[in-house]
Symmetry: C2
Subunit: 335 residues, 2 copies
């Protein structure tokens, strides 16, 4: 056993534990002279970082970060509610950061977090995320990460998602059972796993029902409201689908607006069902049929996994994948 820990380094150097810890992490907050002294002694005494020390350092922040694409979407605001509820019982602060589906923002922020200002991270990755080095780096800094909804499959940590494929399949089948023959799919960017799963569910439901897949009817939207509105308006105007499967809430709302503009009657001329956690879905004209993810429960589950890890001083979480079930709530928009 090697008994050299940060505490001993700090005592020998007459520095605080946190200064030594930050010096070892090459923090920009520590002067070069101090870093050189700390590194020299660490090397001399063959210091090895350990989880317990990492735990000690982390006890100082009592803060976790929640990284989400947006909060205007009711799914994310409900997940945050769930996280918040658990964090409150643990005496933790929750900081929220919005990536706005901007990969560069996500990377910047995650790098920013590495300086130890949070003990753990709960993240739903941005649409444009391509490379996940920034998330690997968090792991290396002993900051545990839990993914929810939008995950990177190849990072071995805890992940909470819903049954995206199955729910999409069932929702599309529902539209088909009501007589729709020309169903469009409003998707989010393809580089997101949940996007691919939802589109796949839609396509398989069409195929299994003997309907042809028309790629003109599958549109990918991103984070630009105006652009999305145009895409959906054009889709409806040009191809006149009789059904729409929408993979996120905001695209369903653009559909409602476009139908008003184009004087298309929902559900008589076009039926729609959408992933959505919109509490006021029943108040819309007509009430919107939804695929409702258990957003609040997902937030709670994700937070509980994270806090368990923090309590145990673990930063490497087991590569567990929890899949929760969404509920399909049929209302007038798809009758």
């Amino acid at each position: 056993m090697n008994n050299v820990n940060i505490k001993r380094l700090a005592a020998e150097l007459n520095l605080s534990i946190s200064t030594v810890s930050r010096a070892l992490q090459n923090s920009s907050e520590i002067g070069e002279k101090t870093k050189v002294r700390v590194r020299a002694l660490a090397k001399k005494l063959n210091y090895q970082p350990n989880h317990y020390a990492a735990g000690l350092r982390k006890k100082q922040s009592h803060t976790i970060a929640v990284v989400v694409p947006e909060v205007a979407d009711n799914f994310f605001s409900l997940v945050i509610d769930g996280i918040d509820q658990v964090a409150q019982t643990k005496g933790y602060q929750v900081l929220i950061f919005l990536t706005r589906d901007d990969y560069a923002k996500e990377v910047n922020f995650i790098r920013h977090l590495q300086s130890g200002r949070v003990d753990g991270v709960l993240i739903s990755v941005s649409s444009e995320s391509r490379d996940n080095n920034h998330l690997h780096e968090l792991n290396q800094k002993n900051i545990p990460v839990v993914f929810f909804d939008r995950v990177f499959e190849d990072i071995p940590t805890a992940k909470i998602t819903t049954d995206d494929y199955k729910a999409s399949y069932k929702a599309t089948k529902q539209l088909i059972s009501k007589g729709c023959k020309k169903i469009a799919c409003l998707a989010i960017p393809e580089n997101l796993l949940i996007s691919r799963k939802r589109v796949q569910g839609y396509m398989d439901a069409l195929e299994d029902s003997g309907l042809q897949i028309d790629l003109n009817l599958v549109v990918h939207c991103d984070n630009h409201d105006e652009e999305n509105h145009k895409i959906i308006h054009n889709l409806i105007e040009k191809y006149r689908p009789d059904g729409i499967f929408s993979s996120v809430e905001k695209l369903a709302l653009h559909t409602y607006q476009s139908c008003i503009d184009l004087k298309i009657d929902i559900p008589n001329e076009l039926k729609i069902i959408s992933f959505s956690s919109l509490k006021i879905a029943p108040l819309l004209q007509p009430p919107l049929s939804t695929i409702t993810q258990p957003a609040f429960e997902m937030g709670k589950a994700a937070a509980e996994i994270l806090f368990k890890a923090l309590q145990e001083g673990k930063s490497d979480l087991t590569d567990d994948h929890i899949e929760m079930e969404s509920e399909i709530v049929l209302r007038d928009s798809s009758i």
Copy 2:
């Protein structure tokens, strides 16, 4: 002129500037021995903190905090969008913190911020806020604060609000002009200035039109959804108002739900107008008349004032009060 600055203290003590700075702020991250050494030298050389030094320290975080009661309300999510847009051009990170109208949470978080993890704070205070020492302390730590929407009047700093009294007066007059004689008011807690202003506008409009004020028709709601729903349901069931002036979005949506439950027709049996930034107000059944605050612009304006102060190294902001105009958008719910 006294030429002793943090840099000189750091050089003489062979410590980093940031360690000296934190030691002087009595940060828990710095060991006692170091603090004693730093304080002793600071006293000996008669060190006086100055704004420039504060500026130096602050350059490290490049982060601002936005403190809001909630994000599920569209007003706050739009304000955050406005703040975010400005922050992005300045290369700053935006951290969001939700108080959920919980005074203790607000105080805890603000105290947490004092350790220098943010350069500035934009805040809409929690409903239950009573004493503002925690905000005064931020000022003392040279962290500038800008208020928006929900302000503390007696803290001398920049404040952005809207014309709450005038807009409420006009909206209530609108209901009266459509024949309403028994108008209820859905208010938020009285300890918020905007709440009192909105209720006053409602009351003055009634009085000026020769209508009697019935305090049974004025209800104060808080942050508990279920409780709010009950209050509104009972109000409508028991007193059968023919008009409702709602001072926040969520209370209008509870009214819609209650009217469905009670089989009351909007607008024929009850007309309603509400403060709201709900983009989908036109998609509701019936479309909701709104008092729409320039939420995005308020966020931008608040952020611009804060960044100007940060750029100039100022932490004491002028006690400027900017009042922006809300727009009344009439739709079918009040015809």
